[in-house]
Every structure is written in structure tokens, then in C-alpha cells.
Symmetry: C2
Subunit: 403 residues, 2 copies
């Protein structure tokens, strides 16, 4: 996982990893329902009251949980102090997005609420990467100030880019920005991850959108390029080197038109933004024209839908996902794209007859990637709370067994 | 995982799961290098000598490990008793394969050695499924007797079938056998899994073949139909419902020839066994003809290679695997298929320039699926030794701290 630090499967379970596991468990319990008392948490997790108290104390003093005034309970006994995720002065996640026609920043608190948001439109094609990174750094620094003003501490930054990123945070190739081997490792301070935008958008939809209740889906990102994020059983599927999801360069027709990648008949040639939108027109122009029955516009949408359908059917045959989320420019065009995609799925997917595939527009629209980025930082804290507590945790005096 | 029983990620870690984890750890340590003494295992795992002794005693009395005579050691101290995987009278895995033109059975012991093997050639197209299952049951029963004669106990059976299987072990669709909704849940006694043959073949190559050192690969199974098994970071990727890998029905050319699945231009039409081999000829006939320069044969191979290449390039763009294993009839044809596949990958895969993809023939040839099936049973024991010990474990007197 992004930012994730996990114990090797073949390591012996010792005290330290037990504590890590149980801190995560308590935090997840409060995240699932709050406020909850220490007694509620003990009952729900099966941990002893004393253990829960020690863990909660660590999480409160480490600013991951905060106490709220007791809520009346039914039944006997004193009402317990309620615990909630610390959205007042806890850690927060900073998400950035560098895209071809906009930059964006977003801050999420520990509870997943958006606390700051900035978008800077403007075409970045042909602009010097250093200049784009410097604009992104300025956005980041304003977002950090905005977070600080609200009492939050940025735990880390995740950056969404429309391209292939290596683990050392070098953007190897972003064809539609015209970038190759751009080092994005130090352009903004603090812990930093750089990740493909479709992957982060898929995570955004999974954790902050509503993928129709499914935890196994294909997120299709329609921009100048076409990317995909693959989520399987609640986990982002990044591929062996993190370069999965290059849906735009899957062949629809090997003898088709030349693509800027050098191959022929790639999906982007039939369904990319430039194939769908005549120069100077917007997605809402296209939606309006389609709505009024314009034949050429409906024709382009139908061609794109068939090409998307053939490709998506191939993905479903291969990966067996039950839900497809249309993101980016495809989200508002879903009503016109869905029938053509569904027809190809019905025709080409072997399991289609007894296992229907649902097609939804992205719930977060074009914010999916930047929200997914900020959310990835927050999720890393949720998954490894011990890492966030570490600087103060092990040296601090620890109470135990408090009521 | 197949047969796998795993603790939910959000469960508290308690004694029972600690013991499970550490039993697995000790077993894996012996599997990685043997013989090893209790002291060696303690040193390698970081567990205490006393804990290791208790765990080893459980594994020995549960017939998963056995003791061998002490081996001389360098350095001071008495030589420890050596421990090895119990391949003498331990559990064994039974693999079965039901395919269009043969049935097969295979027994593997705990160390992964083949202890029994039977193949029954014969075309099963149009044969009543009940009759085929009854032949397979007869193979299974002979394999069980052969295992028993060698002192082994069959821990479970896994069956490889060329089709889509639901979790209740109903074969929903096996197009080339002509099967639909065939219940395979009880045709042979004992714990039973039914799984797609390409998935099991991929596992066979992963654990018992040699996938070029890669743990992320696409296994392509060329038979009457074309299937695929996807292995990512050492794990089989089964899809949301276990129906991943239907590579044969990915479109190469949406306007191409009609496929028996109802769609047009599927990979099977260009590269399936029936497209490659004229009626009445075998794979070795084709290899011999190609070797002698026969133009029509080289032409069919070249068409198949291009179609495979376009489809495989799409998979690599999507999933970012670094290795492709050609199995089934493709294994012996690799020398003729590889160049055409490589050309399409070079042309179509965005990351191909800096991230080469290797193409190998399957090391296990056409035995991959049945060995993978037997291996899946054995791996389930390795992954969950506590489940195998359970019937006797918790009630048994337990020694501790033995030297």
C-alpha cells in the first residue's frame, strides 16, 4: 500500500506488532462508529478493558483520537467518555493533482472531511516541468498553511500525475504532459508519494465515493489520456512495478489509426478527449449537443462507447470485476456511453449472462484523484497508527487500566 | 487462497492465532532448508528455544515434520536432531485434471515430490458429464490407494477443469467440453476444491516450475480453448468471483470471425488449437513442419503469434507483469511464437522500452495444471498447519522446553 509499512508475513508475532495490530483495531473501531466509550470498544473488539484503556490513552495523547462529553446510555452504569477521531488538531492528508489542464490541492482530516480545496485551471502541455512542479509546490504550501490555521498537522503529501511513476518518485512517462524522467521526489517538504492519477482516483471512489457497494471495480479515467485504476476486494491493484492500468493503449483494432504512443488502434484514438470533443468545445457542450439529438455528437459518443465496451469487456473477461466506474470526462457522459458499453459486455463477456456488470459515473467526478491522494495519506495513518505515534510513543510514560 | 483459512485482518491477535502463525513460521523455515535442528530454527526465526521445541513437538506428532539422525555441526555443543518435512507418512495432495482430450491424476507429498501419476487420453467432447466424472473418480481412487501404499494420507483433492467454476464447485460453463452447470461437489470423497485449469497451472509453474525467477507473470494456457492464470507478487489473482483469465475471449479484432461464444474476433479464433492445427495433426507435427520451413504452417504460427501478442500487450498495459509463460500446446511452439509476441509487446506496451518482458515456455509442460492442483492441497497444509493438527492438537498433552 501507499505509505504502508507492513510486517513481513513470515516474521514472528511479537509484542511490538501485537501492539501495532491492536492500535489499528481500536482506531478502526472508532472510525466505524463514533462516539464510542472504552467499554464499547472492549465489547466490540474482544480486547480487555485494561488493554483498550492503554491503547486509547496512547491514541489520545498521540492526537489520533479525542474525547467528547459523555453521551447518555441506556442500561446501568456511569456513561463512558465518548471517543471520536481527532478532526480538531490531529494529522491531515494533503493531496495534489498535476493534470494536463489543471492543478489541484485538497486537505482531508482524519475523519475524511475536506478541509481545504484549491483548483488552478490552465493548459500545462509544453510547459517546463520544473515550472509546473513549482506551481504545484505553491499550492501545497498554501494548503499546509490552511491546514495549520485550522489546527491540523499535515502527515504527508500524495501527488496524482497522469503517467507512469517509478518507486523513487521519478515520473518516467506522462505522454500527454510531454514529460519523461521528471524527478518529483523533493519538490515539496515532508513525506511524499507520487502515484498515477487513475490509481488514486480509484482509491478516492473506493473510500470517499460510493462504488455501488462494490469492492471490486474498474475505474476508467477519461482525460486527454485514458487511464484505469483496478480495485480488487478493496485493494488497489498496482501491478508488479506500479504501472498497471494503461487502458488507453490497449488495442481496439490492431490495424486502426496511429496513436501518439507509436502503436495503432489504441483505445485513446476512439474514446480519448480529443476524439470525443472537437477543438474548443467542452464536455458540457457535448452533453448539451447530445441531449438535443445532434447526430455527429451522438455518432462520436457511440463510437467511443463501442470502443470502451470492447476494451472493458476484455478487462472483465480477464479480471472478473463486477462494477465499472466512469470518471473524468466520462462521468457526465455516462447516460450516452452506458448503452454502448453494456451492449459489448453482453456480447463479449463469458459470464455476463449470470453475473451482471454495473456501470456508474464517478461519485466524486473530477475530484476523485485529488481526494484519493489526500485520503491515501490518511489511510496510511489509520493502517499504521504506531508509525504516527512513534516519535513520542515509546518514550512516553504510559498509564494503564484507567477507567 | 484455495483451501485457505485466514484470520480476518480486523480480529484481535490472541493466543490461538499466535500459535497458528508460529506453527506456519516453523514449518516454512524447515521447508526452506533441511535438515535443521531446533536450535537452528530458533536462531533463524527469533523465537525462543522453548517455544520452538513446543511447536516442533506438535508438528512432529501431527506428522508434518519428522526427525532424522543428527548431522555433524561445526562449532561447540551437541549436534541437534535434524528436522525435515514429513514425506514418509505425512499428508499428501491429490490433483486431478479433467480436460477435453485427457484425464490426469497426480499425488504430491509435503516436500512437493511427485509420488504417483496417471494419464488417460481420450476425447471427452460430447461425453455425458456424469460418465467423465465417474472416470475421474476412478483415477482419484487409484491415486488414493497408491498414496496409502506409500504410507501417505491424502489431505484433500483439487480438480482442474477448463471452465468457469462457482464457489459451490458447480462448473458453470466449460465451452469446449460442452458443459453447463455440472455439479462436481461430491464426485470423489474427502475435502474437494474445483478450480479453473489455467489458474492451477499458473500455481504449478509458480511453486513447482521455474517462472524465470519472477513472481508476477501471465500464464497462457493453449488448449482447445485459451485460458490464462494471473500471478501477482506470488499470489494467484482469481478475480472477484474466481472467473478471471478468460483470455481466449478477449477481442483481437471486434469485426473478426465469429467465435463459439457468440462474439466476433476473439483470440481463440486466431490462436486456439483448432486455428493452429489442421484436423488430425498434432503439436509435434506442427513443430516438425515449421522446423522444415513449411510456409502454410509458419503462416498459421505467425498469425497466432501476432494475435497472442496484441492480447498479451493489452494485458501487460493493464496489469504490469514482467513475464509471460506459454503453456499447453504453446510450450513446444515457443520458438516460433516468441518473435511475433515480442514484436507486438515492443510496439504496444508503454513501458516496454525500460522494462523488458520475458517469454518462457512452461517448465512443467502439459503437467502444470495437475501438479498445480496437487500442490494447492499441499500449500494449504503449509499455510494453515494448525488446521491439519486440529483433530488431535488441542486435546493432546503438550511437552514444553525439550532440548
Amino acid at each position: 500500500m501507499i505509505f504502508g509499512i507492513s510486517v513481513a508475513a513470515d516474521a514472528p508475532v511479537r509484542q511490538a506488532s501485537l501492539r501495532q495490530h491492536n492500535l489499528r483495531l481500536v482506531l478502526a473501531q472508532v472510525a466505524s462508529l463514533s462516539p464510542q466509550s472504552r467499554a464499547d470498544i472492549a465489547a466490540a473488539t474482544g480486547l480487555t478493558r485494561a488493554t483498550v484503556s492503554t491503547l486509547v490513552d496512547d491514541l489520545v495523547s498521540g492526537s489520533l483520537l479525542r474525547e467528547v462529553s459523555p453521551t447518555p446510555r441506556s442500561g446501568a452504569g456511569r456513561p463512558g467518555v465518548g471517543l471520536v477521531l481527532n478532526d480538531a488538531d490531529g494529522p491531515a492528508g494533503l493531496g495534489l493533482e498535476i493534470n494536463v489542464d489543471y492543478l489541484a490541492a485538497c486537505v482531508l482530516d482524519l475523519a475524511g472531511t475536506v478541509r481545504h480545496r484549491e483548483i488552478q485551471p490552465g493548459d500545462r502541455r509544453g510547459v517546463d516541468p520544473a515550472q509546473v512542479l513549482s506551481s504545484a509546490a505553491a499550492l501545497a504550501s498554501r494548503a499546509m498553511l490552511a491546514a495549520e490555521d485550522q489546527g491540523l498537522t499535515i502527515a504527508g503529501t500524495a501527488v496524482a500525475v497522469p503517467g507512469l511513476v517509478s518507486p523513487d518518485r521519478v515520473i518516467r512517462l506522462a505522454p500527454n504532459l510531454g514529460w519523461r524522467d521528471v524527478d518529483a521526489s523533493g519538490f515539496t517538504p515532508g513525506p511524499l508519494t507520487v502515484e498515477n492519477e487513475a490509481n488514486l482516483a480509484a482509491l478516492g471512489e473506493l473510500h470517499h465515493g460510493s462504488p455501488g457497494g462494490s469492492t471490486s471495480f474498474l475505474y476508467v479515467s477519461g482525460e486527454i489520456g485514458i487511464g484505469a485504476g483496478i480495485v480488487l476486494q478493496g485493494n488497489l491493484f498496482r501491478g508488479a512495478r506500479g504501472w498497471s492500468g494503461e487502458l488507453g493503449h490497449v488495442a481496439v483494432n490492431p490495424g486502426g489509426p496511429a496513436c501518439r504512443c507509436g502503436a495503432h488502434g489504441c483505445l485513446e484514438q476512439y474514446a480519448g478527449q480529443e476524439a470525443l470533443l472537437p477543438p474548443g468545445t467542452s464536455v458540457s457542450d457535448l452533453a448539451a449537443a447530445a441531449d438535443s439529438g445532434s447526430e455527429p455528437d451522438l455518432g462520436r459518443l457511440s463510437t467511443a462507447a463501442s470502443a470502451l465496451g470492447v476494451t472493458i469487456a476484455g478487462v472483465i473477461n480477464l479480471l472478473d470485476v463486477d462494477t465499472v466506474i466512469l470518471g473524468g470526462i466520462y462521468a457526465p457522459l455516462t447516460p450516452w456511453l452506458r448503452p454502448g458499453i453494456e451492449a459489448e459486455i453482453a456480447n463479449r463477456v463469458l459470464t455476463a449472462a449470470w453475473s451482471p456488470v454495473r456501470i456508474h459515473p464517478a461519485a466524486l467526478g473530477s475530484d476523485a484523484a485529488v481526494i484519493g491522494a489526500a485520503g491515501a495519506v490518511i489511510r496510511a495513518v489509520h493502517e499504521e497508527p504506531a508509525a504516527w505515534l512513534l516519535p513520542i510513543g515509546p518514550l512516553r510514560h504510559r498509564d494503564s487500566g484507567k477507567p
